[in-house]
Amino acid sequence: MSDWESVIGLEVHAQLATVSKIFSGASTAFGAAPNTQACAVDLGMPGVLPVLNREAVTMAIRFGVAIDAEIDHHSVFARKNYFYPDLPKGYQISQFELPIVGKGHIFISPSEGVTKEVGITRAHLEEDAGKSIHDQFPEQSGIDLNRAGTPLLEIVSEPDMRSAKEAVAYARKIHSLVRYLEICDGNMQEGSFRCDANVSVRRKGDQKLGTRAELKNINSFRFLERAINHEIERQIALIEDGGRVVQETRLYDSERDETRSMRSKEEANDYRYFPDPDLLPVIISDEDIARIRAALPELPEQKKQRYIDALGLSDYNAELLTGNRDTAIYFETALAAAPQLSAQLANWILGDLTGALNKTGIEVTSAPIAPAMLAQLVTRITDNTISGKIAKEVFEAMWQGEGSADEIIAARGLKQITDSGAIETLIDEVIAANPEQVAQFRAGKEKVLGFFVGQIMQQSQGKANPGQVNAILREKLKP
C-alpha cells in the first residue's frame, strides 16, 4: 500500500443563494410542491429565452476574488447538449471555454500545524437541472423542475490532493468560504453544496496520472472521506490483481459503504458545446471587480490572522474558531462584551460550549447560552467572583436555562470566598483537625497538600478561592 499514491481532485457544485433563478424570475426557495416554481423559461417551453441574473454574476466574482483568481473580463455561456428528463431544454446552459473565474488557490490545514496550498482550476456559472424521483410511480419516474434553473457555481480543483483527509479539508474550506462570502448556505442535506471526487492512483514516483473514476452522490464530509478511501482501495486492489481502472462515474452508497458503477447516462459524452446564441458575452470591468472586492466580508484567512496578531490566540485555536463562520460570529459577539478575555473565551467556546453542542447535537446558532451571557460567566472567573470549577456548574445551569451567570451565582450562593480572614479561619480549623497530615507534610510529603485543599474546599462548599487557599495553606504549614 505504501508504494502507491492517490491523486484526488474535487468538483464542488455550490447553489448560489439568489432569490430567483439564474435565467428566469422564478423563486429558488427550497421545499415547494413539485413544479410550482418552474416558470415557462425553466420548463423549456417553445419560444422562451434566458436573461442573466446580476446577483449570480456578483456572487461568482466574489468567490473569484476570495481565492485570488483571475476574473475573466469577457466570459461566455455555452450550451452543454444531452438528453435527460430533468433537463428540459435538452441542453444545460453552462460555461466552457471562457469561465467567469480562472485559476486561483486556497490553503488547507489537513492536520494540526500542517498547511497545504490547493490550486483551483476554474469556477464557472451554470444552471441546475430538475429532480427525478423513482419510487413514487410503479413503472415510471416523476420529474420535478422546481430546481431547474437554480444558479450553480461549479468549482473545480487541481488534482492536488493526495489523501481523503486532504480532500475533506479542502471541501470543508470551500464550504466555509462560500458561507463566509454569503453566496451559498452550504446545506448539504438540501443539496445546496455537492461534492464529486475524481480519484486515481499511481505508484509513487510515477509522473503519469492514473485513470480516474468520478465519485458522485456524496452528501456529507464523513461520506466523502469514506467514499474516497474505499475507491482508493478498490483501485489498488484492482491493479494489483492485474486489472485496469476504467474511466467511469461511480455512485457512493452510504448504506453499504461502497461505490458502484453508474449505468451511463450519456455513453458518448459528446456534449457538443457551443456558445449559447440566446445569451451575449458577459463583460466585467475592473471597476466591477474593485467594487466587489471592497464590499467583501472579512474572510476566514484574514480573520484567523487577526485573531493571532491582535487577539493573541494560538494558530490552532484561531483555525478552529474561524473554521465555521457561525462560531466566529459567536466568538466576536462574546468578545464585544468582554474585550480583554479573548483567550479565555476561545477556550470556553472550543471546550465546554462545543462539547455541549456536540452532545446535544445542535448548531452554535441554536446554543441556549447567548454570546454575551457566556462573556459574563467568563468575566466572573477572571474577577474572582467564582472559581473555574464552580464556573462549570454555573455553565451547566445556564445551559438548562436557569438564567444568567449572575442570577445563578446569587440564587445558589456560589460566590467565591476571597476574604483572607475567612480563609485563614477555615485553614486553621482544618490544620487543627488533622495533625497527622500536618506532620507528614512537614516531613516532606508534598502530596498531602492536596488532602488539605480538598478538605478546605469541602468545608467551604468549593467556594474558597483556590489560589488564596494554596498560598495561605503553604504559609501556615511551614514548620
Binding site: N35, S132, S141
Partner: protein
C-alpha cells in the same frame, strides 16, 4: 464529404431521432450532399478573423435578482402528455 449509414445511425442516436432502416441510405445521401455544400467554406482562408458571437457585437444585459414569476403549474400541466401529483411522468429511469 460522404457519410456512411453507420455515421447516420450514430448522429441519429446523439440527436435521439428514430430513423427507419429503409430510410437510412437516403439520409446518408442527402446529408452527404449538404455537407459537400458546406465544405465550400474551406475555399477561404479565415485565419485571424474573430468569430462573430452576435451580429451587433452586443453584450449581455443583467437582470435584477427578484422573484417575478407566479405558480402557473396547472396551466402548464394542462398541455402535458402525462402528469400526476404535480410531477411530469416518463418511463422509469434507472441510475
Amino acid at each position: 464529404m460522404t457519410l456512411k449509414s453507420e455515421d447516420v445511425r450514430n448522429i441519429a442516436h446523439l440527436a435521439r431521432l428514430h430513423i427507419d432502416d429503409d430510410a437510412i441510405d437516403q439520409y446518408a445521401s442527402d446529408l452527404s450532399s449538404i455537407l459537400s455544400l458546406v465544405d465550400q467554406m474551406n475555399q477561404v482562408d479565415s485565419s485571424g478573423v474573430t468569430p462573430m458571437a452576435n451580429p451587433l457585437d452586443a453584450t449581455q444585459r443583467l437582470r435584477d435578482d427578484e422573484v417575478t414569476e407566479i405558480d402557473e403549474r396547472d396551466k402548464f400541466q394542462q398541455i402535458a402528455p402525462d402528469v400526476a401529483a404535480g410531477f411530469y411522468r416518463v418511463p422509469k429511469v434507472i441510475e
